[in-house]
Symmetry: C2
Subunit: 153 residues, 2 copies
């Protein structure tokens, strides 16, 4: 999906909820679309200094409600935001436990299929209604791994 189509889709989804696709919201969606990883509020604001922090949070809340954006709670720091998977593609995250950075990764379709089947089964056994899964790899990003070495030396 190219960025133009993305904006059209986003506008439609907001519109059907009685909301407007303003310049601010378009800017937020654009920033997320151009990133190859989920971003925090400070990162999003950094790209567009004209938006108030509260508006960013509010816009993201509306975008999440409209199914355009997804929120990732990685740790104690800021939440990370990314476009919903139906606007991009199914993927997972490498989460750095030291600096909180999040990167995207994908798995093979076969493994994903096996996972879906297995998870649906165990969920059902507990009467749980599974909607989707979240698979993150925790560890150290390249930068932090380097620093860690330096520290321990």
């Amino acid at each position: 999906m190219d960025e133009e189509e993305l904006h059209t889709t986003a506008a439609q989804r907001l519109r059907s909820a009685g909301l407007r696709y303003t310049g601010s919201r378009r800017a937020v969606v654009g920033v997320l679309a151009r990133s190859d990883r989920p971003l925090t509020i400070p990162e999003i604001l950094g790209e567009d200094g004209s938006l108030a922090q509260s508006s960013a949070y509010r816009n993201l809340t509306e975008l999440i409600g409209a199914g355009i954006v997804h929120r990732i709670v990685a740790g104690d720091e800021f939440s990370h935001f990314e476009l919903a998977e139906d606007l991009t593609s199914h993927h997972h995250h490498l989460v750095c436990t030291r600096c909180g950075r999040v990167a995207d990764v994908t798995l093979s379709d076969e493994l994903e299929a096996s996972l879906d089947v297995a998870l649906a089964k165990v969920a059902e056994q507990q009467g749980f209604h599974a909607e989707h899964h979240r698979l993150d790899v925790l560890g150290l990003c390249a930068d932090c791994a380097r620093t860690e070495e330096g520290v321990s030396r």
Copy 2:
């Protein structure tokens, strides 16, 4: 591992960090050991009303540092705490997106092995040092699914 052995192990790990295994800490570990799912601070305090909230947080921080407890950040609400996997067994979580409740589930060893291999590979491609993975199923627990039906009727 029975609870007695668990306490012995916990005491050793704290001791080697120059920390003490006090009654409070033993109580917290006991509560987590007797639960079949990760608990929040209010839930932990509910079981033992004599412990101050700040002490609970501090104890959990020390227990995490000593590798005895693991923290789960599920959503916006309270963090959930459980015993570290080497004291229990590798498992995953069903997270209710409505009430925040977390339940434990396990997958087959074969699937886990496939996952580990695949994740290690994609992580390495980005210079990321993988430590462990986290796989959660998001959806509605049995109770919330029931209520949801009631609401929409």
